[in-house]
Amino acid sequence: MNLPGSGIFKGMAVTALNFVGSFFDPKREKRLITEQYPEERPTLVETSRSFPFLIFDNDPETGIRCVACKICEKECPPQCIYIVQDKDANGKAIRRPAIFDIDISVCMGCQICVEVCPFESIRMDNIYEVSSYGRFGDLVIHKNQLLKSNEYYRQIHPTEAAETDARIEAARIKKAAAAKAAAEKAAAAKAAKEAEAKAAATTTQPEQPAQ
Amino acid sequence: MHDLIQKLTALPWDQAPQWLFLLPALLMLLAAAAAVMLRNLIHCALCLTLSFIALGVLFIALGAEFVGFVQLLVYVGAVTMLILFAILLTPASEVAASNNPFRAFQLSKAINAALGGGVALLVLAGLLAAIFFSPHAREAVPPAVAATAPAKAIGENLLNHTLLPLQGTAILLTAALIGAALLAKEERPS
């Protein structure tokens, strides 16, 4: 017979068992699933992303993939990227950024800059411990902090990095093949031209012994 | 320092009970006056509540603990809530001057104030006369009557001497409760 109030007592029994179990259950490590944060970091999934970063291949000075084409600056919806192209000693523009700032308090992590970059040079990082004490300007990250190596990229996003590397490798092979074909064609053209010149030279030769 | 202590200790400390009466009484009068004179209705109701609390304190100071606590319980707890809910649930009572039906009877502000003050003074005079010319006026304040168990004494009085009015009040309150419930009940379209 369902006495009014019996449901409450059943519920309270469940809660009490939970309470006692959380102290004495032998499997309580699995039961209390809280991650104690600074000591245990959460395992992020591979596709998690937070803010962009720049990739360099071997050396942060010479291996920067970014050529300061400014496509990502134009395409960024909240306009959080600021790029200034580098100039060499004579004042001529070279294909490297002098300044590359991202304001991560504005960045919304939409990954559009990644999608439009033609040089596979900007990718999404998954760092999240970037708080600062100042409110204005402390969350602008500069080029030297944004540059991270390709090894790091392979570490945080293995699949994407493998894909990107494969694409770059394919592009390099294609370019090398095209260069080889062009070189062969040029060599062939050159050989043909030489042969033609030689033929032209030899055709003028038999004229003389006729006399 | 020495004569400060002398002066302090020479004050009439045994007259303190009179000040104990004077303070809540003054507070009650001020609060009641404010309740009549303030512009915002809710402020008026809250000042009225303050006067109720002061009255309760007066009762307790005079030794009638039971009545004092009942005053706080009933007046502050129930009557105040009633007044506040009534103020909140009725529409804004700013009657436009042109809609006032009593406008014909209003002479001028000064004459109105004089008439109102005159009536108040008359009532006050009547009350004072009743107090001063009553036979108990010149007696000293009697000591606290129910020193041992006021609640018990009140209960015995209620249930032995004044039983009929008590039952009548009970019937009246029950009727009021049923009436209120009936008034608040919505008509269900059947």
């Binding site: 309270m12 | 039971f66 606590f69 609640a151």
Partner: protein, 416 residues
């Protein structure tokens, strides 16, 4: 052990003696001869101050401990840890210093008063809330001979002060110039007034059987042991058990605790009447609510759980004030337990429960208590009173809950 039992009183007497000695020493040093009434008056004043400081200290310490214990117990019941970081210097101490962090946070928050708010009433609402709440612990007997103010109508004092809480809630809600606050305040007041009736009726039942409105008298009426072994607490009688449960539910409703925390549920009305309060004023409301909760639990212990009496003769060596605070701690734990178990009531369910179930049950308990008393308190009396409580309980339960909420009888008010 008489020493432990008299420890608080002995400590107070020690401080009084110290003050008296200091006064006499000062008088001898400066050569001032005080009038006769000065030193006794001073000692009375110091004695009152000691009692006030002790009670406030104990209640505020309990408030601090409760705020962290509640979070940790709730967490353990919900399969997670509670706050376990805030400690003292390097030691974590299981997060027991969390109230210190919470207090610092609340004290340093900016106090924002809305522009259209009624400034005086907005300022006075926390005052009107906390002043009666701090006066509530005065009439609760904490141990043998340890009651701050001995009033012969102490129970009435307790409920008279509860009226102040309702006024404060209204003032808070109305002065915030916010329609959600006003709605929250209206609901809160409706809830408090509805549940105050069964609360007062249950207290009246205990006063009826004990024959006095004084808390000490009620506790003494529950002293002694039946058959030399079983305690004579009111909760072990049928009417007392019903009245205790009704008082407990009323206490949950008066302190706005789950499952009756509609007035302060965040998903319902932001924070109801507390929406526009921040910083220290919010902390004051919070504190007043917890102190009120402890006071009303203390009243429950006094009225039904035997106050400072021990449950059996061979446990009497534990001092009486330990028993009181132990029972109080147990009740606080059950309040957290109920909070972890039950979901929140809807306002119409709450009202229905109060008026249709609890009020008739409290009348039935009253009649049952009277019958128990007039039938001579013997075995026959127990049977009659059990019947007089049990039958209305089953009938009301059937008519109010089981039948109404059966599948073909459920009242769907708005979904046609």
């Amino acid at each position: 052990m008489n020493f432990l039992e008299n420890l608080p009183l002995a400590a107070k007497q020690l401080v009084l003696d110290l003050v008296e000695w200091i006064c006499k020493w000062l008088c001898a040093k400066t050569g001032v001869t005080p009038p006769d009434w000065l030193i006794p008056a001073l000692l009375t004043l110091v004695s009152i101050l000691i009692v006030i400081v002790a009670i406030l200290g104990v209640y505020l310490a309990m408030f601090a401990l409760m705020s962290v214990a509640e979070r940790k117990i709730l967490a353990r019941m919900q399969n997670r840890y509670g706050p376990n970081r805030v400690g003292f210097f390097k030691w974590r101490l299981c997060g027991l210093f969390q109230p210190v962090a919470d207090g610092i946070k609340m004290l340093t928050k900016e106090d924002i008063v809305p522009r259209g708010a009624d400034k005086i009433v907005h300022f006075l609402a926390p005052v009107v809330m906390v002043a009666p709440a701090l006066m509530l612990p005065a009439i609760i007997p904490y141990g043998r001979g340890m009651i701050p103010v001995e009033l012969s109508s102490g129970i009435l004092y307790f409920f008279a002060l509860g009226a102040g809480t309702e006024l404060a809630v209204f003032m808070a809600g109305w002065s915030s110039n916010n329609k959600y606050s006003v709605m929250g305040a209206m609901r809160a007041i409706a809830q408090m007034i509805s549940y105050e009736l069964p609360l007062v009726m249950s207290a009246v039942i205990a006063a009826l059987v004990a024959g006095t409105l004084s808390p000490v008298g009620i506790v003494e009426a529950q002293g002694g042991y039946a058959f030399g072994l079983l305690p004579k607490w009111f909760v072990f009688t049928p009417w007392g058990f019903a009245a205790c449960v009704l008082f407990y539910i009323g206490a949950l409703a008066e302190s706005n605790r789950c499952p009756f925390d509609l007035p302060e549920g965040e998903s319902e009305l932001v924070a109801g009447h507390l929406t526009e309060y921040s910083g220290f004023k919010y902390a004051i409301f919070f504190m007043a609510e917890y102190v009120g909760m402890f006071a009303i639990n203390g009243m429950l212990v006094t009225l039904f759980l035997g106050g400072y009496n021990a449950p059996c003769p061979f446990l009497e060596w534990i001092p009486s004030w330990c028993w009181f605070f132990g029972k109080l701690a147990f009740l606080a734990f059950t309040m957290v337990w109920v909070r972890a178990t039950l979901p929140r009531f809807r306002i119409d369910q709450m009202m229905e429960f109060a008026w249709k179930f609890m009020l008739p049950m409290s009348f039935a308990a009253l009649i049952s208590a009277a019958a128990w008393h007039y039938a001579g308190r013997g075995a026959q009396a127990w049977g009659i009173s059990a019947l007089l409580v049990g039958v209305p309980y089953l009938l009301l339960g059937y008519f109010c809950f089981t039948r109404r909420h059966s599948a073909n009888n459920r009242p769907y008010l708005f979904s046609e």
